[in-house]
């Protein structure tokens, strides 16, 4: 199986504080890969490195055969990597439709075209409405995104990434702050819209992780502790210690 994303020895320092410490990670084409780990482990930082928000202090990142570390976020996105954000990062003062349309315009490579009017571009409109439909947001089409309920904003957050039709999708805690019912809906949505894609997902809800993921990587203090199938991870002692701390030691002592 070929790798779609390969990280080799990736390190990130902030003011001499090492947040990511020599991460090697291979994401296989077509898999659903979950990235888990305690708060502050560096999961979001890793996403920021992959998507060009940060430049690694050392190491390399390859998307298929293209080296992408150090590229601008928009270039990496154009290559076929799209992401959603842990903190909702939609266009709050625009309508839901306008939000989605921004993504579709970008996807169709029209974002800086300035000859024809956008309103006459039927394919943009149709595709935007189609994607809103898929994300169960059609009913909120003309509402301002900032006025939506939290669950709908989450759906839009994920929808904007998916709408770009990327080969690789990175979702940063898509279920954060959702009720169990809303979480079920968003997981169903993620399953549907990432069917033919490669997915890397950061998630704290272990039910979601073990339900969704083909493989799991565990990150702790900027280091990958283990990568493996859900079963392997469940039985891994290092992982247990990272999550449960010294509790087991205390119990045995």
């Amino acid at each position: 199986m070929t790798n779609i994303l390969t990280l080799k020895g990736v390190t990130k320092d902030f003011d001499r504080f090492r947040v990511i410490d020599g991460v090697d990670l291979e994401i296989r084409e077509g898999e659903r890969h979950a990235l888990i780990g305690p708060n502050g482990a560096g999961k979001s930082t890793l996403f920021n490195l992959i998507t060009g928000h940060y430049v690694p202090s050392s190491g390399t990142i390859h998307f298929k055969d293209t080296r992408i570390d150090g590229l601008a976020p928009y270039k990496i996105t154009k290559l076929g990597i799209a992401r959603s954000f842990q903190i909702i990062n939609v266009f709050k003062e625009l309508t839901v439709f306008e939000n989605m349309r921004n993504a579709i315009v970008a996807k169709q490579g029209l974002a800086v075209k300035c000859i024809r009017r956008l309103a006459v571009m039927g394919q943009v409109r149709n595709e935007s409405e189609y994607m809103l439909d898929r994300c169960n947001l059609a009913a909120y089409r003309d509402e301002l995104a900032g006025t939506l309920g939290y669950g709908q904003q989450r759906a839009l957050e994920v929808g904007l990434a998916i709408a770009l039709d990327p080969e690789l999708v990175l979702l940063d805690e898509p279920g954060a702050g959702l009720s169990p019912e809303e979480t079920r809906m968003i997981v169903k949505l993620i399953r549907e819209v990432t069917a033919q894609k490669t997915l890397v997902i950061i998630e704290h809800d272990m039910d979601v992780v073990f339900d969704l993921a083909d493989r799991i990587s565990v990150l702790s203090y900027g280091v990958i502790l283990a990568t493996g199938t859900p079963k392997e991870i469940r039985n891994n002692t290092a992982v247990r210690e990272a999550y449960l701390g010294t509790l087991t030691d205390n119990e045995t002592a």
Binding site: N89, L94, E98, R101, N102, K107, A111, V112, C114, V124
Partner: protein
């Protein structure tokens, strides 16, 4: 319905503008010509501030560079035989180049940093115009085209001193450039720029080259501002460093805020109010700036969205009363 009302009111304004000179005094026509040129300039500023959220304190540079380029063309390209339209074209293109140059330099800056970088750049250009006497005439500026005529195909020859002709001439370019700017905001690029105003960070993560989009709006804004500068020297029959001065930049800012900087029509309304306010207040008192300032502060305090905001509120109330309150 609302759309029809909009087009009807635009048509009405255009019709009025065409008919007004028939009943107005020469002085009034001259004033309205100035309003129209400031409207073009204000719209070019709207593209940056109101539409894209880029605050510039150096907009006079685009205006002034367009003005000087047009003036120098009139004096040097073919002497008295230089076609006026060519000078206007050179002015607009020079403004465009200036916009491109500013854009390249300040691209990564936002907010107050952007404002002060544009201010510094425009003051540098002002200093060049002030000091390079051989080319620009220094603080005396340039003159020498007051007696020129414009030959209009099919219509005939007109003197620049013909106030009514100047009015229609400027009005033609205003309709052209303002319609073009309106269209610009409605293209995918215009949509992208509006998105950049709301959340440029996410725009980048949608795969949009935000810097390229910003560079394009700087360039286009420079083109329109340069055009307004070229038209202004035809009306004033002179150019001076004042055209590039920061007080001119702040005039544009004040016009935008008075009219409503976040609305396309705002700067046009603002230009009207500003020109007439200055004209009438300065005929009563030398301390007119104090009164303009007081008006400005009051408006900011009570109607931060400017006169366009007041009109917008009134229209919403009317449509609400008539049962069409849904947006």
């Amino acid at each position: 319905m609302k759309q029809n009302l909009k087009y009807a009111s635009i048509l009405l304004v255009v019709l009025l503008a065409i008919l007004l000179p028939l009943v107005m005094s020469k002085f009034q026509i001259y004033l309205v010509t100035q309003v129209i040129i400031y409207s073009i300039l204000g719209v070019s500023y709207y593209l940056l501030l109101g539409h894209t959220g880029l605050l510039s304190f150096g907009h006079a540079a685009f205006f002034g560079v367009g003005a000087y380029a047009a003036a120098l063309s009139l004096l040097h390209i073919a002497g008295p035989d230089t076609p006026i339209l060519l000078a206007i074209l050179v002015g607009a293109l020079a403004g465009m180049l200036c916009g491109l140059l500013f854009g390249l330099i300040v691209l990564r800056l936002t907010k107050i940093y952007l404002a002060f970088a544009t201010l510094a750049l425009s003051q540098m250009i002002w200093a060049v115009a002030w000091k390079w006497r051989d080319l620009t005439g220094g603080d005396d500026g340039l003159t020498g085209w007051a007696a020129r005529t414009v030959s209009m195909p099919l219509i005939g020859q007109f003197a620049l001193t013909n106030v009514t002709f100047s009015y229609y001439f400027v009005f033609f370019f205003a309709v052209l450039s303002i319609a073009l700017s309106w269209h610009f905001t409605k293209t995918p690029l215009g949509n992208t720029l509006a998105g950049i105003k709301v959340n440029s960070h996410r725009m980048g993560f949608l795969g949009v080259n935000v810097n390229k989009a910003k560079l394009m709006v700087f360039t286009f804004s420079g083109l329109i501002a340069g055009l307004s500068g070229a038209l202004f020297i035809l009306m004033k029959k002179m150019v001076s460093p004042h055209f590039l001065d920061m007080s001119t930049s702040f005039d544009v800012l004040i016009i935008s805020v008075i009219g409503g900087y976040a609305s396309f029509m705002g700067p046009i309304i603002g230009a009207f109010i500003y020109v007439y306010l200055v004209e009438y207040l300065s005929s009563f008192t030398e301390r007119w700036q104090l009164l303009v300032g007081a008006f400005f502060v009051l408006l900011l305090l009570f109607y931060p969205k400017g006169v366009a905001g007041i009109i917008g509120n009134a229209l919403r109330k009317v449509s609400f009363v008539s049962g069409k309150g849904k947006r």
